[in-house]
């Protein structure tokens, strides 16, 4: 059994993260899917801490677009995990965009112009970071996609356009894009859902689901990490799937294989 505070836990191993907190960059898009019964927010918090806490990567930056909560919410949670977001924000390592309080224009054209402006800020930030000495990776995070779609008057196509541009930025500047979306929001759709488009786009998909047996006290859910593998000049690595259980505690999360908990 491993907790999220240890050097490398089951989640980090499944994602291919190194012991120094790095890895997982190189133009990848990571999609977190959760449900009402099993919130995937803890994965987002864990990844924020991983990307900011590595001593070997002092110039890595996290660009965070929040549609779900104010900054104080994330600051409080990450403090309990041993990461001071306020300091990171002052040091320009944690760039926070409050998307909740933006004035969203009516109409798709106005929304597209707004997204263009937000994307421009992200690209400028990433370009600045990449020019610094010792730069390794940047991370772009969005919490969460379904609320982004609501803010854009239900235009899933605009959301997908924005993700496409973030992904192209990731491949150019060696970034990691992390997005959170809710699977059950799209479950009743008759037409192919935009979530499926994101699953095609993503290199890594993490699904947080309840146990097949229902609610339990000691096990809060199961994680399935689908890593599609990457293709580089030397060849392609094969896709892999890992499935394990988790339990969310006050300051950390425990990950363990089914039946291995004592």
């Amino acid at each position: 059994m491993m907790s999220s505070n240890s050097a490398n836990n089951l989640l980090d191993e499944a994602l291919g993260f190194n012991d120094d907190g790095g890895g997982g960059g190189g133009g990848l898009l990571l999609l977190i899917e959760d449900r009402v019964e099993t919130s995937g927010a803890f994965i987002l918090h864990h990844l924020i801490k991983r990307r900011l806490s590595s001593p070997n990567r002092p110039n890595d930056v996290v660009v965070f677009l929040s549609f779900a909560h104010p900054f104080s919410h994330y600051d409080r949670i990450l403090r309990k995990m041993g990461c001071n977001l306020g300091v990171q924000k002052e040091n320009k390592r944690f760039v926070y965009y409050d998307m909740l309080n933006l004035n969203y224009p009516d109409g798709e054209k106005g929304a597209e112009d707004l997204l263009l402006s937000v994307y421009g800020k992200i690209q400028k930030t990433v370009e600045l970071c990449s020019s610094r000495e010792g730069y390794k990776n940047s991370t772009i995070m969005i919490d969460d996609i379904s609320l982004m779609e609501v803010a854009l008057c239900g235009s899933s196509n605009l959301v997908l356009d924005f993700l496409h541009y973030c992904y192209s930025l990731a491949t150019q500047f060696d970034c990691l894009v992390i997005i959170l979306n809710h699977e059950d929001v799209y479950s009743t759709m008759d037409v192919p859902s935009p979530l499926l488009q994101m699953e095609y786009l993503a290199n890594i998909v993490i699904k947080a689901e309840p146990l097949a047996t229902g609610l339990a006290t000691d096990v809060h859910g199961q994680l399935t990490v689908l890593n599609k593998g990457i293709c580089q000049g030397s060849g392609c690595s094969k896709g892999k799937i890992r499935n394990f259980h988790f339990r969310v505690k006050e300051n950390c999360v425990e990950y363990f294989y089914p039946g291995s908990r004592t």
Partner: protein
């Protein structure tokens, strides 16, 4: 093998008076190996062109880097630098993927520019049509593909398509335009929709590395030919192997019913021995069947018709007779190898990327 048959058809290109061969590569999220097949077909086509007398050329219309012109707009307003729209590949940048008429013109102009020296034709590869359908209607996309296919300088055309991202009518429309449809399906049936558990994880993982590969060929004479095999992903690409039964399945389109519509070997032999009622003369002499292929020594009438029944006067009989001349033997199923299979056409590959920009290295 199915994959080889596809490569041969694309290599041979368009025949005189015919539209260019068009291939749809279709996959789904449960068998996401379409991109591997696309890369394999592209590499095979490049290799075939390289081995012919013409010089192989690859040109890219980049619809991936800036499909809506956002980066250009930001660069022009000085917000970001211009370098994000520059790339080291030989690529023509598309800044508005919604305008398919302009896209068609760009493809054709670039293709003509490239083949100007060789006076050949160019091939077009699209990765992927699913991405085009996010920005344009199915009718516009179908029109683009149809116009490319009917262009007299396009040798062949193929595209990738994720079937579960679109409604059935979009999938059907693309299949109607195609002369070949290659479908990648899961090798293992998982309990989709029933939640994840430790039992179906190995099956899902298996589908990431292996798949069923079924290809439907539409011949010029209207006959449909089906072939299927398995594909396995490996470190350096993919490999096609015969299906698990141990042989390539090549079948005709016989509906699955409870009675047998096929002929066994014995039944086929017995049928061949049957003498048709009007083929024997019934005059006490040994039965002779004239099938039109051997010269008739007793005939006194010149036979200039090649394809009809005709009356023939027998010098020994004053009675009218019907001499039946067979038009041709029944064509055996799956024996119609295309006689033009060995044609090689000079062509250039024209690569349209909408999804992921990939660099081919020699």
């Amino acid at each position: 093998m199915a994959a080889e048959a596809i490569s041969r058809a694309l290599r041979d290109g368009a025949l005189e008076g015919e539209h260019a061969p068009a291939l749809t590569i279709k996959d789904s999220i449960h068998a996401p190996l379409g991109a591997f097949v696309f890369d394999h077909i592209l590499a095979q086509l490049s290799s075939n062109i390289s081995s012919s007398k013409s010089q192989a050329q690859l040109r890219i219309v980049d619809c991936y880097t800036d499909p809506l012109g956002w980066k250009i707009q930001l660069a022009e307003s000085g917000i970001v630098s211009n370098r994000s729209t520059q790339n080291a590949t030989t690529a023509s940048l598309c800044k508005n993927v919604r305008d398919l008429d302009m896209l068609f013109s760009s493809i054709v102009e670039l293709g003509k520019e490239v083949i100007r020296e060789t006076k050949g034709r160019f091939a077009v590869a699209i990765d992927s049509v699913s991405e085009i359908l996010r920005h344009a209607s199915i009718s516009s996309a179908a029109s683009l593909l149809s116009n490319l296919r009917s262009h007299d300088q396009v040798a062949c055309l193929f595209w990738l398509f994720h079937s579960d991202l679109h409604e059935m009518k979009a999938s059907s429309a693309l299949e109607y335009i195609s002369s070949m449809v290659a479908c990648v399906e899961p090798i293992s049936n998982t309990a989709n929709g029933k939640g994840m558990n430790s039992e179906n994880v190995p099956l899902i993982e298996q589908n990431l590395g292996r798949g069923k590969f079924s290809v439907r060929f539409k011949r010029r004479n209207g006959r449909i030919r089906l072939m299927s095999e398995e594909l396995h992903t490996e470190q350096m690409g993919i490999n096609f192997v015969p299906a698990f039964e141990g042989h390539v399945t090549s079948q005709s389109l016989v509906p699955k019913v409870q009675f047998n519509l096929q002929l066994s070997e014995k039944e086929r032999n017995d049928r061949a021995k049957v003498v048709l009622p009007f083929e024997h003369q019934g005059d006490g002499k040994p039965i002779q069947i004239y099938d039109g292929r051997r010269s008739v020594s007793e005939s006194k009438t010149e036979n200039k018709e090649t394809n009809a029944e005709k009356m023939h006067v027998n010098e020994d009989s004053g009675r009218g007779e019907i001499i039946y001349i067979r038009d041709s033997d029944d064509e055996m199923p799956d024996s119609d190898e295309d006689p033009d299979d060995d044609l090689i056409s000079d062509s250039t590959i024209f690569f349209l990327t909408v999804g992921i920009l990939e660099l081919l290295t020699n």
